[in-house]
């Protein structure tokens, strides 16, 4: 809850800037000549350097400075944004990220990276060493009185000006009040700098890029009249009325800043915990509202009833809005994979094209974060095992560039994310052989196609003949499956030999709410996730009596085993005379759960259980009911597993 920690703020900003740089660089690889991209990358580097220095990240600032310098040459057209240069800056960018996050970095790494960078620049062939004519500027600037309090530091600004060329600095103390009135934390000074430089006006504006909004800046081009062509930047208006020029967004920098400011006005960055807190409050509101509703229902006061209904509507809307607030577009996640593909191309020597679709699809923020690792693994897998090498592709008559497509779309209360590749497809015979070898299936077992393909998600399964440094490391496919199931999602897989594979992840929109079936066992109430429920039937007294020996019912010619929740939960009270069976599906199994009463549908706001109850296992969370009571949410696969063990114990006990 430390939204005000300046270091944290900087880290967040740095994160965004580095992402901009990375995206810009990757785009540059496709469109090397794009001025806007070059400018954008340069500007992000510059901002990173500046705010890094301001927040005391000196190593970062110093390192970034070199990259910025290199990119400045690109910007001025002295060197081209060649592939080696982009790669070098990308590598350097990783180093910056480590510095920004305060991670330890290998000694000498920075030197090596900078050497690479230097080589990339020079390797491009020395661009014509055009030494631009020297220009002289007279710069007067002052900062707002509270600038120091807000973290602006004039010294680095002056240093930066000095870096541009020969600078003479004079302090203007006119505005300093008498000692009695002086506020020591205020900035009363102004500066006048005469700068002789080869840089243009833009470079000066860039120096002040962070403080430009509030400060006064006057730049006078002393050489302007003598220049042969009246360059646009030495706009006469500026010379005549420097006061006006100060805040005129003449430089592209100021324009970009303005654009950013407008954007910042549209979005608010809020710590996730605050959203969680709000979610809790909304939950409480919903509970209080349903109590009010009960009260109103038993009252004959018409006005009270009207208000209760109004509150009910508002509370429901509030809850829906709250859900939307937590949603973020999946573009955030997809954006990260472009870099992954870049690295994969390098590591595998395959050419890969990543296309994405449906980036605007929105998902709960927590879900998005937890999806990152599984998706990385699936993409790696597609690149490493799915896509063939260039020769094999040519032999198969496929285009040399392998395609991986990431697509997301909403379908009801789920988001479907598909990872499609046009590689060799899954070799079913090899999957089967491998599974038999590992003892996952009995030799010659009859399996459906989907069952066979799902085997690749089994723990300890790997078809890679050789473990490459790509897919061999990190999480296995079984972890992918676990993570997805942890999100209450499911994985489907399909594959055409020679044509490629499609892995589909079906993920619920939000972790915070599920539809559930509320049931009662003894005095306790439980929620069964509605997604798992197939049907509800009555447990007839005859079946009940018989089932001391076997717990099976026949459901449309199919035998369905059932578990008595009251046994499993050691419920003390006597069972209801007409118990019900809720038939649930888990994986391939159908199992009946015997309950005392089915209370109905319940939209459930899921609350986690504390780690005290983490090892109880049978419950995935809890929820608060309309009357303020608590119902535990059943973790169906765990309940079924426990039921099987319970039965085994009973059999063993004989």
């Amino acid at each position: 809850m430390s939204g005000l920690d300046p270091t944290e703020t900087f880290r967040q900003e740095a994160q965004e800037l580095l992402e901009q740089i990375e995206q810009g660089l990757l785009d540059l690889a496709d469109r090397p000549g794009d001025r806007d991209l070059i400018d954008a990358v340069f500007r992000a580097l510059h901002t990173l350097k500046g705010s890094g220095a301001m927040f005391g990240f000196d190593a970062l600032a110093a390192f970034t400075h070199h990259c910025e310098t290199a990119f400045d040459r690109v910007r001025r057209g002295e060197v081209a944004a060649s592939a080696p240069l982009v790669a070098a800056v990308l590598a350097a960018q990783d180093h910056m990220r480590a510095l920004a996050e305060g991670r330890p970095v290998a000694e000498g790494l920075d030197k090596a990276l900078l050497a690479d960078l230097q080589k990339a620049i020079e390797g491009d062939g020395p661009a014509p060493p055009t030494t631009p004519a020297l220009k002289a500027f007279k710069i007067r600037f002052s900062l707002p009185a509270d600038a120091l309090v807000n973290g602006a530091r004039p010294l680095p600004l002056l240093d930066e000006l000095r870096e541009l060329g020969e600078a003479t600095v004079r302090v203007i103390t006119d505005a300093v009040p008498p000692l009695g009135e002086l506020v020591p934390t205020h900035c009363h000074l102004a500066w006048e700098v005469v700068l002789t430089t080869t840089h243009g006006r833009d470079a000066i504006d860039d120096v002040f890029i962070f403080v430009i909004d509030d400060m006064t800046l006057e730049v006078e081009d002393l050489t302007a009249p003598s220049e042969d062509a009246p360059v646009a930047e030495a706009d006469p208006q500026e010379a005549v009325a420097p006061d006006v020029a100060a805040n005129t967004p003449a430089a592209p920098g100021a324009g970009a800043e303005a654009g950013r400011a407008a954007k910042a006005g549209d979005t608010v960055r809020v710590p996730a915990e605050r959203l969680d807190e709000m979610m809790d409050r909304v939950g409480e509101l919903v509970i209080a509202q349903s109590r009010l509703k009960q009260l109103a229902a038993s009252s004959s006061d018409v006005a009270l009833r009207a208000v209760a209904e109004e509150i009910e509507r508002l509370a429901a809307e509030m809850r829906d809005t709250m859900m939307i607030v937590r949603m973020v577009p999946i573009a955030q996640l997809f954006g990260r994979f472009r870099r992954l593909i870049h690295d994969l191309e390098r590591d595998t020597g395959k050419r890969i094209e990543l296309s994405t679709e449906g980036e605007t699809t929105e998902l709960d923020k927590t879900v998005i974060e937890r999806l990152a690792d599984p998706l990385i693994h699936l993409i790696r897998n597609a690149a490493d095992h799915g896509l063939e090498g260039p020769e094999q592709r040519a032999a198969a008559g496929k285009p040399p560039v392998g395609r991986i497509m990431l697509a997301a779309r909403q379908s009801g209360a789920e988001v479907v994310i598909t990872i499609t590749d046009d590689g060799r497809g899954i070799d079913r015979a090899r999957v089967r052989a491998k599974a038999e070898e590992n003892g996952l299936i009995a030799p010659g077992a009859v399996l459906g196609d989907q069952e066979l393909l799902q085997l690749i998600f089994a723990p300890g399964f790997s078809t890679a003949a050789a473990i490459t440094n790509l897919s061999g490391r990190g999480v296995g496919m079984d972890v992918v499956k676990k993570t997805i199931e942890g999100l209450r999602g499911a994985i489907d897989i399909s594959s055409e030999p020679g044509q490629g594979s499609v892995v589909s992840l079906r993920i619920p929109l939000t972790l915070a709410i599920i539809d559930g079936l509320l049931v009662r066992v003894g005095a306790s109430r439980y929620v069964i996730p509605l997604g798992a429920v197939e049907e509800c039937v009555e447990l007839s007294p005859a079946q009940d009596a018989r089932s001391t020996g076997r717990s099976l019912i026949t459901l449309r010619d199919e035998l369905v085993p059932f578990i008595r929740l009251r046994d499993q939960f050691k419920t003390q009270s006597a069972p209801d005379p007409h118990q019900k069976i809720v038939v649930v599906a888990t994986g391939q199994d159908r199992v009946g759960l015997v309950v005392d009463q089915i209370l109905g549908d319940h939209q459930t706001v899921i609350k986690p259980l504390s780690s005290f109850h983490a090892d109880v296992g049978a419950f995935s969370g809890a929820t608060i009911l309309g009357d303020g009571g608590v119902a535990l949410i059943l973790d169906i696969p765990a309940v079924v597993q426990m039921g099987q063990r319970h039965d085994a114990h009973l059999r063993a006990a004989g």
């Binding site: 809790d280 409050r281 939950g283 409480e284 509970i287 306790s524 499993q568 939960f569 050691k570 419920t571 609350k607 986690p608 259980l609 504390s610 780690s611 005290f612 109850h613 109880v616 296992g617 049978a618 419950f619 809890a622 929820t623 608060i624 303020g628 009571g629 608590v630 119902a631 535990l632």
Partner: protein, 160 residues
């Protein structure tokens, strides 16, 4: 000299003290939801202002028999780290008393003999009016999930 502002409460005739800064609220008994399969130490959860929090019974950690509920029973809600995460936890109390000041010189280390309780579950013992107040070590108790088994009175002295 440091003093400890502490909320005192009774469990099975013994007086316990908790740092007052930990305490969020003292509640009357409210409906509890039993968690089937959970140990007696944390057998239930409650709805505390829209949050579902575990209800801890310290009597289990101190080998005390569970008693009938009385009108004096309370739940003391504390904020205390649980496995590294800040958490709200409810503690059952037979009866809750006032907040008192416990001065450091009135407290003593846990003696190594004469204790039937697990020594590392107790941070300090305080003397008051010829009686004892137990200042429990919640970190240790929570980490051990209230299991009393592993310790004899000759347990090596704790680092603290």
């Amino acid at each position: 000299m440091s003093t400890l502002e502490a909320l005192t409460f009774d469990l099975h005739g013994e007086t316990f003290a908790l740092e007052a800064t930990l305490v969020r609220e003292v509640l009357d008994l409210l409906p509890e939801t039993e968690v089937p399969g959970a140990p007696a130490f944390v057998s239930a959860v409650i709805n505390f202002r829209g949050r579902i929090i575990p209800l801890v019974d310290l009597r289990v950690a101190f080998d005390m028999p569970l008693a009938e509920t009385t009108i004096d029973n309370r739940i003391v809600v504390i904020e205390h780290p649980l496995d590294g995460e800040p958490a709200l936890i409810g503690l059952r109390a037979d009866k809750v008393h006032e907040v008192t000041s416990i001065t450091e010189d009135s407290t003593a280390d846990v003696p190594r003999v004469g204790m039937r309780w697990r020594a590392d579950f107790i941070r300090r013992l305080a003397r008051r009016d010829g009686d004892l107040i137990v200042i429990p070590d919640l970190d240790q108790i929570f980490a051990a999930r209230g299991q009393t088994a592993s310790v004899t009175p000759f347990h090596p002295p704790q680092a603290r």
